[in-house]
Amino acid sequence: MGLILEIKGLSKRFGGIQAVDDFSLDIREGEILGLIGPNGAGKTTLFNLITGFIKPDSGAVTFKKKNITKLKPHKIASMGVSRTFQQVKPFNRMLAIENVAVPLFSKRARKRKNGDDVLSKAIEVLRRVEIIPPDSNMFKLASQLSHGYSKRLDIARALALEPEVLLLDEPFGGLGFKEMTIMNEVVKKLHEDGLTIVIIEHKMRALMKLVERLAVMHFGAKIAEGNPKEIARNEKVCEAYLGKDGGRLFA
């Protein structure tokens, strides 16, 4: 299993704030990695840098040995790196199923498709996030969906691109217990299907059950990297979250 995504020395400054500070990380193909850190640590900014929504001041990102640092977001998405957003950002005035259909008209989807039926592909993607047709939600306007469905629709949209790397930004955000269980299953299954997944999350317990490895960010820099057990015992990490007198994060 080689490295599918390599982040080398990425930095970004906004006015007086160093949002991302010389961040480096190697992501192995097929792994499921968690990205954590206190609020404002720069996690979402990192995602934005990787996916081309923001240009870095310095550093590089390579995907399958190809430099994607300066590329536009749609190009990066078309190459196989897909993402969701922290706030659910669906196409509000379009139907749920239309939301999923849009990526199916991207360059990537058109290249891979063999004249295949867009509609069946859309339905197939919805299935993968447990929105099983005939589900009346499919025909609801995206703005009318419940939060749980919206979150999964977002993932469906990202999946429709048939990505190799999936960047999820707080997939469990705002979800209740039942929804979280479904989401957990969805993400696990996606991992089993071979996708490389990077997850930003604050809900530690849910995250720990999913990931094999973690990277921790604080003030834009990487302060720790390792498996969940190591991270839990890492002093710097505890300090970052709880301040100098913090004890263990979790037993």
């Binding site: 190009k75 993402r83 669906p90 196409f91 139907l95 239309e98 849009v102 990526p103 991207s106 509609l119």
Partner: protein, 339 residues
């Protein structure tokens, strides 16, 4: 026996057609037989203008209502094409049926030019810029009266036809064809992508859509139809002048589209016809015309932003914008479906 079969076939065909298509046909038929019922020169003229402004409104709609790019200076496309069609007619002696489509092509070119700032500027800045473009053009025309005819403009263009009825049918045909094409685009996958850009351009980019390319496309389509409308009007009036760049024409397009139903394309037809009727009704109190038009604008934008058509759509639960690819899920009809 054969005759019976033909009639049954037609009835079957009619039943299969969507509600929208039926309305379209009905409208086409009604508007087509109108001249037979009334030889009123005056009424026909009003309707001709209504048709032109329906196309103009729809051209704004595909850019603004469907793709989410609000141009406040759509008169630019209209005016440039009017002048170009006129120039081609006057200096190269090309007939209207040639100058008008070429006018449309000039609309596309202008569309590409205006698309450039829309990519770089934030929405508000672009709105202001688009508002000002027509004024710049009018200014240039005033500055070089020898080439452009200055304030008086250019005149002596070939008429569409000396027969008002023929002119009427031309305008009707042009309008129906334009609206038909634009609606097809709205419901196609291009329309789907346009709408995704409107709803959330970032998400569209993240979904692998080259938003820049599609924005250009939207401008091109919008410019083409606005250009056709402009070219037609130039030949209708047999002249054109810099007053065509007046912001008020831009607002008309926005009003027509918004009154009927923003983002629906067909709404522009209703809006345009309604405003034409309103305008004529107010002819007697001429000095209140702009006032009342502006008042309607205000009320529509404040209280009825979706337009009249959307009120109907909501009540009868029809979705006007939906992608036609979903047809397979509920049979042949593309009414949009019941949410």
């Amino acid at each position: 026996m054969k005759e019976e079969k033909n009639v049954t076939d037609i009835i079957e065909l009619l039943k299969e057609m969507s509600l929208r298509l039926k309305v379209f046909l009905l409208l086409s038929i009604v508007l087509s037989i109108l001249p037979a019922l009334t030889r009123d020169h005056y009424l026909l003229t009003i309707l001709i203008f209504a048709n032109i402004y329906a196309i103009f409104g729809a051209s704004w709609d595909i850019l603004g209502g469907v793709t989410g790019i609000f141009s406040l200076g759509h008169a630019l496309f209209f005016g440039v094409s009017a002048y170009m069609s006129g120039a081609l007619n006057l200096f190269l002696n090309l007939p209207p049926w040639m100058t008008i489509p070429i006018g449309g092509v000039f609309g596309v070119i202008v569309g590409f030019v205006v698309a450039l700032p829309s990519l770089r500027l934030k929405n508000q800045y672009f709105a202001i810029t688009s508002l000002i473009f027509p004024t710049i053009l009018a200014g240039i025309i005033y500055m070089y009266p020898d080439i452009t005819g200055g304030e008086t403009g250019i005149y002596g263009l070939t008429q569409i036809s000396s027969d008002i009825v023929v002119t009427y049918y031309s305008s009707l045909l042009l309008m129906l064809a334009s609206i038909f094409v634009l609606v097809k685009i709205l419901n196609s996958r291009i329309g789907l992508i346009f709408r995704s850009i409107r709803d959330d351009a970032e998400t569209a980019e993240a979904s692998g859509i080259n938003t820049t390319k599609y924005k250009f496309l939207s401008f091109a389509i919008s410019g083409f139809f606005a250009g056709i409308a402009g070219g037609f009007q130039a030949h209708l009036l047999m002249s054109t002048s810099p007053s065509i760049f007046n912001p008020f024409y831009s607002f008309q397009a926005i009003l027509n589209a918004s009154l009927g139903g923003i983002g629906t394309i067909v709404g522009s037809v209703g809006g345009s016809y309604l405003m034409s009727i309103l305008n004529e009704a107010l002819r007697s109190i001429g000095q209140f015309r702009v006032f009342i038009t502006a008042l309607v604008m205000l009320l529509v934008f404040r209280y009825l932003p979706g337009g009249i058509l959307r009120l109907f759509a909501k009540r009868y639960r029809i979705n006007l914008e939906v992608w036609s690819g979903l047809k397979k899920l509920w049979g042949k009809k593309d009414d949009g479906f019941d949410t």
